[in-house]
């Protein structure tokens, strides 16, 4: 009875992680099309949500080995998985609050690795596999996507140099909407499967499913729906950073970066790298900024993202490890951990309400604010088409640190 209770709780938490994964990564596909107006915000997230669901159901090969050999899966217990998920969810929510597009996959890997180290000892983690399958691709893949996007952007502008600008605009608008949709599909295939893998791992660990079997039908469907719902809810804070914060994006750039992201995600997933959709998409967007002459690339924000990437694995790992200490104390520990998770989520959500970003104002400003609105005026000048008459927030007295 208690086993069934714990398993149910862990599956619920896994689906919550899947939801945060969806809204954290919604921006990867749709930030560009929304920023250029190729798709309207609500249409874009609906499209992305459906394609994520389709993508999740498309292929379940990766889901069979969630950890990809990072650690000995026979040592993994249900509380360890729960602790890893808690680490991943909290990291996702904090970075979302800051509007930072960090990697959900790395958060999941980090959380699980941290929990495994605490629960089963450091020897059970295979460091080399982590380096070759996670860390190295994390550096190479965004670079590849960036180079591809830069080349493609250059070519797109060169080929259509003499083309009527309204035809070019319309053409690439469709192109951008299309490649954005492809990114959503690719995201569903790669990230949707991670949660399926986690739930399957839980069922196997609890002896409710035979080892070495693929995810069950209801697991595939539940994971697909959770990631789809998450995507539909939008993650507007990250959408703003990716769509407006890094590069002032135009439709040919958007089409190029979407194509680059899709190609890189699919090629890497095909060869079994534990790849981050977010990092690839960011690399693609940055590359498209480098590829267009005269495009402004805000390297300061890019640097901030890079720090967040570096911190994701250890950060989620620390939270996961701490959670593992608590989760190891039987059913009481599990309940305490879930209560703490709910409390932390509520606090983060309450903070996000102070400076809301939603579909109504996602592309009004390039900045995501948490506490203060001090530097807001500085950016109003930068985006010249937005006049100063946009007092997005009434309260301006807390001029402390803009994040």
């Amino acid at each position: 009875m208690t086993v069934l209770f714990v398993v149910t709780v862990v599956i619920a938490v896994a689906l919550i992680f899947d939801f945060t994964n969806g809204f954290h990564d919604s921006a990867n596909a749709m930030a560009g099309p929304i920023a250029t107006g190729a798709l309207r915000p609500r249409t874009a997230v609906l499209l992305a949500a459906v394609l994520n669901l389709v993508g999740a159901c498309l292929s379940t090969e990766v889901a069979k080995t969630i950890s990809g050999g990072f650690f000995d899966e026979s040592l993994v217990t249900v509380p360890i998985i729960l602790a890893g998920l808690v680490g991943a969810i909290l990291w996702n929510l904090v970075t979302w609050l800051l509007g930072l597009p960090s990697s959900s996959s790395h958060a999941l890997f980090g959380g699980l690795i941290g929990a495994v180290i605490v629960g089963a000892g450091i020897a059970s983690v295979n460091g080399w596999v982590v380096v070759s399958k996670v860390l190295l691709p994390a550096v190479v893949a965004p670079l590849v996507a960036g180079i591809a996007a830069a080349l493609a952007t250059k070519l797109a502008y060169r080929i259509t140099r003499r083309t009527q600008s309204e035809d070019r605009e319309t053409g690439f608008k469709y192109g951008q909407a299309f490649t954005g949709s492809l990114v959503a599909l690719a995201h569903g295939t790669s990230d949707g499967q991670k949660t399926m893998g986690v739930i399957t791992l839980v069922l196997v660990a609890a002896n409710l499913q035979a080892p070495d079997t693929g995810p069950q039908r209801w697991v595939i469907l539940a994971a697909g729906v959770a990631i789809g719902l998450g995507t539909y809810s939008g993650g507007w804070r990250i959408m703003r950073t990716l769509g407006k914060g890094v590069v002032d994006i135009q439709t040919p750039q958007g089409a190029a970066s979407g194509a680059a992201s899709t190609a890189t995600i699919l090629a890497s997933a095909h060869l079994g790298f534990g790849l981050s959709t977010t990092q690839v998409a960011t690399g693609g967007i940055l590359g498209s900024g480098v590829g267009r002459r005269g495009a402004e690339v805000r390297w300061g924000i890019a640097r901030k993202m890079a720090f967040a990437w570096l911190l994701t694995l250890p950060g989620a790992g620390l939270v996961g490890g701490a959670a593992a200490l608590l989760a190891d104390n039987g059913v009481g520990g599990v309940i305490a951990l879930v209560v703490l998770l709910a409390a932390a989520c509520s606090v983060i959500w309450a903070f996000s309400r102070r400076h809301r970003v939603g579909h109504h104002n996602v592309i009004d400003s390039p900045e995501v604010l948490v506490l203060a609105s001090a530097s807001e005026t500085a950016y109003v000048d930068a985006t010249s088409e937005e006049p100063v008459a946009k007092p997005k927030k009434k309260k301006k007295h807390k001029a402390k640190s803009a994040v």
Partner: protein, 76 residues
């Protein structure tokens, strides 16, 4: 434990060439369709240019379909 440089190299080559190919097809198609539209507006329809534009668009779509075919294991 060795790092699989060959696989990383394949990812780089495949991703970059697929992206570039797709964008070349898309941009050329947009260019041709625009030219065809301008000519049609001036009263001399350019059927050849128009069909070439749509053909390139079709090729771009085929490229995408082929890539999706490659990753869906049920098809193999």
């Amino acid at each position: 434990m060795k790092i699989d440089w060959a696989a990383l190299g394949i990812v780089a080559v495949v991703s970059i060439s697929a992206t570039v190919l797709f964008v070349i097809l898309l941009s050329s198609s947009i260019r041709l369709l625009s030219v065809a539209r301008l000519k049609a507006n001036q009263g001399n329809p350019a059927t050849a240019t128009l069909s070439a534009g749509y053909a390139l668009l079709g090729l771009a779509a085929l490229l995408v379909l082929f890539c999706i075919y490659l990753i869906v294991s049920q098809f193999h």
